[in-house]
């Protein structure tokens, strides 16, 4: 880890839980669908194993429910969805993220203003 520059994947690691919860908050999804939807939203550096590991961890922590949907073509899909605990976690994390990103934006804006003058 000699790298000094911070890339997207470094940021993403910290907020992957929140991103996965937010995706599932929109609608229930299976593992690969979560990865795809995250990438569609611009989080293209997200790794499949990271999403799968996060899903399993959130499930084990009791934030998600899961059910298997049989499919005619291809394998059966294990869908994950938010339960009450998951929704609560999402709300709290979203608030925490909003205040953190707000503070960070202010800090960065101040820097850009300083630079601008």
């Amino acid at each position: 880890m000699q790298r000094v520059e911070v890339d997207n994947s470094q940021f993403l690691k910290g907020v992957l839980d929140l991103a996965v919860l937010a995706v599932l908050g929109e609608k229930d999804s299976y593992g690969y669908d979560v990865v795809r939807r995250l990438r569609e939203r611009g989080l293209d550096s997200v790794g499949d194993a990271s999403v799968y590991g996060t899903l399993r961890r959130l499930y084990q922590a009791g934030a998600l429910n899961s059910y298997v949907v049989p499919s005619d073509e291809g394998p059966h899909r294990k869908y994950y969805g938010l339960n009450d605990r998951g929704r609560k976690t999402l709300d709290q994390s979203a608030k925490a993220w909003a205040s953190l990103s707000g503070a960070l934006n202010q800090l960065l804006n101040g820097r850009s203003h300083e630079n601008g003058h």
């Binding site: 992957l16 690969y32 790794g47 194993a49 990271s50 799968y52 590991g53 399993r56 084990q60 294990k78």
Partner: protein, 313 residues
């Protein structure tokens, strides 16, 4: 499925990932990799080429998985929270004023328990020694065993209260033994009391009257305590001997209502118990008198409205 190259690819990849995570505890491995095959199958189904190309080496995938899953330890965290909640709840309860009042109130119940446990201990012993007979909650002092039970209860109460007042020795073994004995008495007494309450009072009464008279009681909208016989024209009859359909003397029992009966003695010296009406006295000593009865009017043979056919000319 087994012939599908995709399925083979998934199986091989999953095996490699599992091997790379072989050092994880078994339950954690199950929790993390429970549906790895399903997940990999989805990816395989929705992308071209082998999984290696799509996801990178299995070892790399396993490492990423480990990081993502191990970022926080949900199971350990969960357990800690549960214990903390329990501890907090117990602290809250033990600090509450109502709990302290409750604890302060308990010692005042001690003498009551000393008396109760003595009674319960005798009850348990009584149920042990008088199996098969009806156990009564309060011993009847007029039966031989009942008198024994009363004496035993009094002795047990004295001993139990004495024990309670003097307290036990500091020896830990003795204390544990005493606690066990107290618990055992309470437990056995519970079962004894529960089995005692299973007879409805009417059943007990029936059983008693059967034992006394050797025949079931006679009922007519209530227990029959005496029988009055009248001739056709309403003359009261005395010393009428009654028998049932099997030729057994028919007896009724008035003792349940507190009546005392004096039976006439036969020539053989045996009391005649089925001669009616019986001579009875109420509990206050006054004799039982015959009730007022309405004798139904019998058709008189001379005033018979019916005419027999043979009388016709």
């Amino acid at each position: 499925m087994a012939t599908d190259p995709r399925a083979n690819d998934v199986a091989a990849y999953a095996t490699a990932v599992r091997t790379a995570l072989g050092d994880l505890p078994a339950d954690e491995k199950t929790a993390l990799l429970e549906d790895l095959e399903e997940h990999l199958s989805e990816i395989a189904a929705e992308s071209e080429g082998p999984l290696n190309q799509r996801l990178g080496a299995p070892e790399q995938y396993a490492a990423e998985l480990r990081t993502a899953y191990g970022a926080a330890h949900p199971r350990a965290a969960k357990r800690r929270v549960g214990l903390q909640d329990l501890r907090a709840a117990s602290v809250w309860v033990s600090r509450s004023s109502w709990y302290r009042e409750f604890r302060a109130f308990l010692p005042s119940l001690r003498p009551a328990w000393w008396v109760l446990r003595a009674y319960l201990a005798v009850l348990v012993l009584a149920s042990w020694f008088s199996r098969g007979t009806d156990l009564r909650p309060i011993p009847n002092p007029f039966s031989s065993r009942g008198l024994l039970q009363v004496i035993a209860t009094v002795v047990a109460i004295v001993v139990s209260v004495r024990l309670g007042q003097t307290g036990l020795s500091r020896d830990r073994g003795v204390r544990i033994l005493a606690r066990g004995l107290n618990g055992a008495i309470a437990l056995f007494a519970f079962f004894t009391l529960a089995s005692m309450g299973t007879y409805p009072s009417s059943m007990v009464g029936d059983a008693v009257s059967q034992q006394l008279t050797g025949a079931p009681g006679v009922y007519a909208n209530g227990p029959v305590t005496n029988i009055y016989a009248y001739s056709k024209n309403g003359t009261p009859l005395t010393d009428v001997l009654l028998y049932d359909q099997d030729g057994r003397p028919l007896t009724v029992d008035g003792s349940a209502t507190g009546l005392s009966t004096s039976y006439p003695n036969g020539a053989d010296g045996q009391p005649i118990t089925n001669a009616y009406p019986m001579i009875q006295r109420k509990p206050d000593g006054t004799p039982v008198v015959a009730p007022r009865v309405a004798i139904p009017p019998w058709p008189s043979p001379t005033a018979s409205p019916t005419v027999s056919p043979t009388a016709m000319p």
